[in-house]
Symmetry: C2
Subunit: 301 residues, 2 copies
C-alpha cells in the first residue's frame, strides 16, 4: 500500500478529498455532492479519487458528512446528544473498499425538551475539530454557530455537544432572493447598496418583526427608490437579525459565541450577535473539519 | 350602444370580467393576468371581451387591480391613506377605448410611522365594497384582513382606510412548500395529515418562534415518521400562526377582525386569530370586489 491516507468531507453539494502524507496535506480533489449522485456513490467516489490511484491504493479513507446519510454511500448511524468526541468516533461505520479500510463518521441527533428531533451530518466534525484545536473550548459551556444553508446552533458543555438546533435561514434567504417578488429578481446587485440594505434590515430586525417588515423589501424598491442590491441586503439583514434575536430569546443568556465557517457570512452573523452584546470569535470551517477528521498537521497546499 | 356595462378585476394572475345588465350580472369572462401580457394589455382585453362585442360595445368599462399598475394597461395613481371611498373613486384614471368610457380605479398607498411605504391594487376595492355592504363597518375602528399571496392587513376608521400592511406569507408558504427541503418535495399530500400538521404548527407558532421551529418540518419527517402532507400543514400553521402573532403584537389590541377572501384560507386565519381571542367574521371576496366596483345588484350566474 502507498504511504498516503485520504480524508474527506462529502456533503450534499460537493465531495472534497484531502491526501495526507505523513503530517501534511499534499493534494486535494473535488467531486460531485452526495445529493447529485443518486445510487452511484461508490462510482462517484472511485472516479473522483482515480488520479491518486496511479500511486496505489490509500492506506485508509475517512469521510464525514452526507456520505453517511440513508441516501449516501453507506449509512452511518447518528450518535445521540450529549456526545463527546470519543462517543462520536465510536459510532462511525467501517467497511472495506477494494481492501482499503473506510470509515464514515457518524452524524449527531438530539431531541429538544418538547420532543422535537434534530440532526446534523458534517458539522459535528467541525465542532469536534474546533474543540481539538482549542482546549479552552473543551471546558465550560459554549455556544457555537455554523452558518450555511442550514445553520447549526450548538451548545457544548465540558467537551460534549449537549444540544443543537438547525435553522434553515440560508435556504430561506436564497428562496427569497432568487425566487420571490421581494428580492432583486435577477437584476445586478451593487455591493455598496447591498451593504446599506443589510444594515437597514439588521436595524429593523427584532424577534417579532419578520412578517411585519418583509414586504418593505419590495415596497421600498417600488416607492422609495431602493435598488435591487439594497433589497438583497435588506432581506439578508432582516433574516439574519431575526434569526439571531429569536434564537437568543430561546436560550440561557450568553456573552460569547464561536462562529465556524465562511468568513464573510460569519462576519454578518458577528454583526447581528454584536447587536445583542454577544462577542463572536471566528474559526475557519476547513481547518475545523480537517481537525475533526483527525488531521492535526500542516495544510499545504 | 348596447344596454350593458362591464366591470372587472384585472389582477396579476387573471382578468375577470362581469357583464351587468340592469341590476344583474348576466355573464362572466376570464382572461390572462396583467403579469403575463407584457405590453399587450389592450390586445388581451380586446380578445377577452370579444364574445360580448357581437352585441355591440358596452356602455362603460370599470376595472380595478393591477390593470392600473405601471406595467398594466393605463397607469392609475395611488390614493394616499387615509382615504374614504369618495377620495379613492376620484383618483381613478379615465380614458376612451373604441369610444367606450373606461375607468381604472386607483390603488392605495400609505407610509408607516417609520417612513416605510406600502401599496395595494385591487384589495381596496374589496375593502370599500365590504364597507358599502355593511354600514356598521363604516363607523368606528375595524381590522380587516385579506389573505392571499400578499396578505393585506388594513385598519378602517369611520369609513376611511387609515393604514395597511402587506405581509407576503402566501408567497413565503408557496416557496417553502414547493421549492424547499422542508416541505413535501412534490410527494402527495394527504388532507388529514395536512390538517394535523396545521394544528401542530399553529400550536407551536408564537411571535418569536419561526426560525426556531421551521426545521422541525423536515426533522419530523426524517426522525418522527411524519408524512409530506403533515409537513405542508405544519409549515402553513407555523407561518399563519407566526404572522398573526407578530402582527397583533404590533397593533392596538383588538377583539374582532373581518376576513375577506377564499373561505378555506380565511378559515385557517380565523383559527389563528381565535388563539389570540380575536373573533373573526368572513365575507366572500367576489361579493366585496363587485360591491367595490359599484355593483349592488344580484349575482346571477
Amino acid at each position: 500500500m502507498a504511504a498516503y491516507q485520504v480524508i474527506g468531507d462529502w456533503g450534499t453539494s460537493r465531495l472534497r478529498l484531502f491526501r495526507v502524507e505523513g503530517e501534511t496535506i499534499v493534494a486535494r480533489l473535488q467531486g460531485p455532492g452526495i445529493g447529485t449522485v443518486g445510487s452511484g456513490a461508490e462510482a462517484a467516489f472511485a472516479e473522483t479519487i482515480a488520479p491518486w490511484l496511479d500511486d496505489g491504493l490509500p492506506a485508509s479513507v475517512t469521510l464525514c458528512g452526507m456520505a453517511g446519510a440513508r441516501d449516501g454511500w453507506v449509512e452511518a448511524p447518528y450518535a445521540d446528544c450529549p456526545a463527546d468526541a470519543a462517543v462520536w468516533r465510536t459510532a462511525a461505520t467501517r467497511f472495506d473498499w477494494r481492501g482499503v479500510p473506510v470509515t464514515i463518521l457518524a452524524g449527531l441527533a438530539c431531541t429538544d425538551e418538547e420532543g422535537v428531533p434534530d440532526v446534523m451530518r458534517g458539522e459535528e466534525a467541525q465542532i469536534f475539530g474546533a474543540l481539538a484545536h482549542d482546549p479552552a473550548l473543551a471546558q465550560g459551556r459554549h455556544l457555537l454557530l455554523l452558518p450555511g444553508t442550514h445553520n447549526k446552533w450548538a451548545w457544548v458543555e465540558d467537551g460534549r455537544i449537549t444540544a443543537f438546533r438547525t435553522v434553515p435561514t440560508g435556504e430561506l434567504f436564497a428562496l427569497l432572493r432568487d425566487r420571490s417578488t421581494l428580492g432583486p429578481r435577477g437584476a445586478p446587485v451593487d455591493p455598496a447598496d447591498e451593504a446599506a440594505g443589510f444594515a437597514e434590515g439588521l436595524a429593523r430586525a427584532t424577534a417579532d418583526q419578520l412578517f411585519h417588515s418583509l414586504f418593505a423589501s419590495r415596497a421600498m424598491q417600488l416607492r422609495a427608490g431602493r435598488s435591487p442590491g439594497w433589497a438583497a441586503g435588506y432581506l439578508s439583514g432582516l433574516l439574519i437579525g431575526g434569526e439571531v434575536a429569536q434564537m437568543l430569546a430561546h436560550m440561557a443568556p450568553t456573552e460569547e459565541a464561536l462562529l465556524i465557517g465562511d468568513a464573510r457570512l460569519c462576519g454578518l452573523y458577528a454583526q447581528a450577535l454584536a447587536g445583542h452584546a454577544v462577542r463572536a470569535a471566528h474559526r475557519d470551517g476547513d481547518a475545523c473539519v480537517l481537525a475533526g477528521l483527525g488531521f492535526t498537521g500542516e495544510i499545504n497546499p
